[in-house]
């Protein structure tokens, strides 16, 4: 299912003194199976865009097409809500059941999955997010912040959505948890061709995962391209209030001192190590 967004706008509390245009004329095309990152300053409209893509908000103007479904300001019932899995910025807002198990099982049971099937999906989902099995019988509200986030994620994964939207999913996760989530995103993308929309403030994640990146600025689309394109334009990066990925900063730091620079298109530590090794061998052979 390709996603096509055309001149999308959204106004909060229209017609009140608090009226706020949170999104203006955003257009965006996400081919099926891609990883799309959305970045930008606080308040730039990222969560609003996601609210629209997931069918929770209705466009003020413009349109969203997902596969065969089409939504405009006139659409009464938004058809794709069940196709799209969303993990919200504050996962607590998404938890509601008495136990962690029931919370994760809710989605699949609504999809008409058999009892046995539900059990399997819950087990699979908690494994994917690295949640301890002993927490299944606990209340989701008696968990630490990072544990709650994992439960919210597991609940969405258990529905096996073909489009997965994640609003700052690694915020509050420890290193092991973030690492696991990022690999999970990679494997959902590679093995299951799930389309992934990732809102994040972590440029490291953008560098590592994204096929394309959208920069939002004051409700408008300010840049649309690949991570390499984005991170090669330092001037604009600063203008957008963004920064370079940690690895790029480290490479730049090294490049200060060496004559033929290390390419800044390297975004993974393994690649950097391999590159340095190769270079060292070349020097030794000279």
């Amino acid at each position: 299912m390709d996603i096509d967004v055309k001149e999308l706008s959204y106004v909060y509390q229209k017609g009140t003194p608090f009226e706020e245009q949170a999104l203006s004329n955003v257009s965006l095309a996400i081919p099926h199976g891609k990883i799309q990152a959305i970045v930008g300053k606080t308040g730039s409209g990222k969560s609003t865009l996601i609210g629209l893509l997931s069918g929770l908000l209705r466009p003020s103007s413009g349109s969203i097409t997902i596969g065969d479904y089409h939504v405009t300001s006139k659409t009464k019932k938004i058809p794709f809500r069940s196709k799209v899995g969303v993990v919200f910025q504050y996962p607590e807002q998404q938890l509601f059941a008495e136990t962690v198990f029931k919370d994760i099982a809710y989605g699949p049971s609504n999809q008409g999955v058999s009892l046995k099937g539900i059990e399997d999906r819950v087990q699979q989902a908690i494994k994917m997010v690295g949640l301890d099995e002993t927490l299944l019988s606990k209340s989701p509200f008696g968990l630490s912040g990072g544990q709650m986030r994992r439960v919210a994620l597991a609940g969405v994964l258990a529905m096996e959505p073909s489009i997965l939207i994640l609003d700052e999913p690694t915020a509050g996760l420890d290193r092991a948890g973030s690492e696991q989530l990022l690999s999970l995103i990679q494997s959902l993308h590679e093995k299951n061709q799930v389309t992934i929309i990732l809102v994040t403030h972590q440029m490291d994640e953008v560098a590592r995962l994204a096929d394309q990146v959208l920069v939002m600025d004051k409700g408008e689309s300010a840049f649309y391209g690949t991570p390499i394109e984005l991170f090669s334009d330092k001037e604009r990066l600063r203008e957008f209030g963004l920064e370079l990925p940690t690895i790029t900063k480290l490479i730049n730091h090294l490049n200060h001192r060496i004559n033929s620079p290390i390419p800044t298109s390297i975004f993974e530590l393994d690649q950097l190590v391999a590159y340095l090794e190769k270079r060292r061998k070349e020097t030794e052979n000279e």
Partner: protein, 279 residues
């Protein structure tokens, strides 16, 4: 005069009577936080960081063990009230902290409880809004703010109360890079004027700004290190599933490949100059 906090063999659990002691949220923690320190607390999800923070500001009462402020044991509700006044805490989820119908009222709320005068309030409100970058948002309803704006509001509310100690529980987790840098900068400024800053975070790059790092694991303190030994010990953090600075990861990877770099580096600067000579 300031506020020194001491925990002496403190244990805590949400359901002390139903849980085996090895599963408690905080286990036998003894620590002192002196006025003016800049400390970061790191640890995996569920390791007890937020629970410890709630003990430090008097919101939770130790299930076992004792807590002292400037050497005096904290026993009564009166003591704990006093403690909350001295130790401001910014919660992990700002929704838990935001109480009033507008940004302005929300910041005023905490000060009203402290009996701050109207005039003083006006001044402090403008000052803290500016410090967190929310000037112009006075009339907005807090639940109509974006995620990062809520985090900033929660910080403003605590700053306005001018506590001796400020605990930031993952307060930068949803800020954009600029916002994160400005809050980190703010922490340094607070530290410079003598306020104790305690920062709970999952990001190594943020934790390493502090002068002292405490590592929690399953409710217990694993490490409590001053700044100068941080870099040399950072590789250990991996065993508790914690973030290790990228330059240290690179250093280790290269050593494994047989590069002649020294076994202990103390800073990224040092690593970079060593690599440079090898290339």
């Amino acid at each position: 005069m300031g506020t020194d906090i001491t925990l002496q063999n403190v244990w805590f659990h949400y359901y002390p009577n139903t849980q085996a002691k090895e599963n408690w949220a905080v286990k036998d923690v003894s620590l002192t936080f002196s006025q003016g320190e800049y400390i970061s607390i790191i640890g995996s999800n569920g390791s007890g960081k937020s629970s410890l923070a709630c003990l430090l500001n008097g919101l939770f009462i130790p299930s076992e063990g004792k807590l002292f402020i400037n050497g005096t044991a904290i026993d009564s509700d009166q003591d704990r009230w006093e403690m909350k006044r001295r130790v401001g805490m910014i919660f992990q989820n700002p929704d838990n902290q935001i109480v009033a119908p507008s940004v302005l009222d929300d910041i005023a709320f905490g000060m009203e409880n402290l009996g701050v005068t109207r005039e003083d309030m006006q001044i402090r409100i403008q000052q803290v809004l500016q410090q967190v970058g929310l000037t112009g948002f006075e009339k907005k309803e807090p639940h109509h703010l974006s995620g990062g704006q809520k985090q900033r509001l929660a910080i403003a509310g605590i700053l306005a109360m001018q506590p001796d100690v400020i605990l930031f529980d993952e307060s930068t987790s949803m800020l954009d890079p600029d916002g994160r840098n400005s809050i980190l900068q703010l922490m340094s400024e607070l530290h410079d004027v003598g306020i104790t800053v305690i920062h709970i975070t999952h990001q190594a790059s943020e934790a390493f700004r502090a002068d002292r790092i405490i590592v929690l694991h399953q409710g217990s303190v694993m490490l409590d290190l001053p700044k100068k030994s941080l870099y040399a010990n950072a590789a250990q953090l991996d065993q508790w599933g914690l973030d290790v600075p990228l330059s240290i990861q690179l250093h280790q990877a290269l050593r494994k490949k047989g590069w002649q770099v020294s076994d202990k580096v103390e800073s990224e600067e040092q690593l970079v100059s060593e690599l440079w000579t090898l290339m």
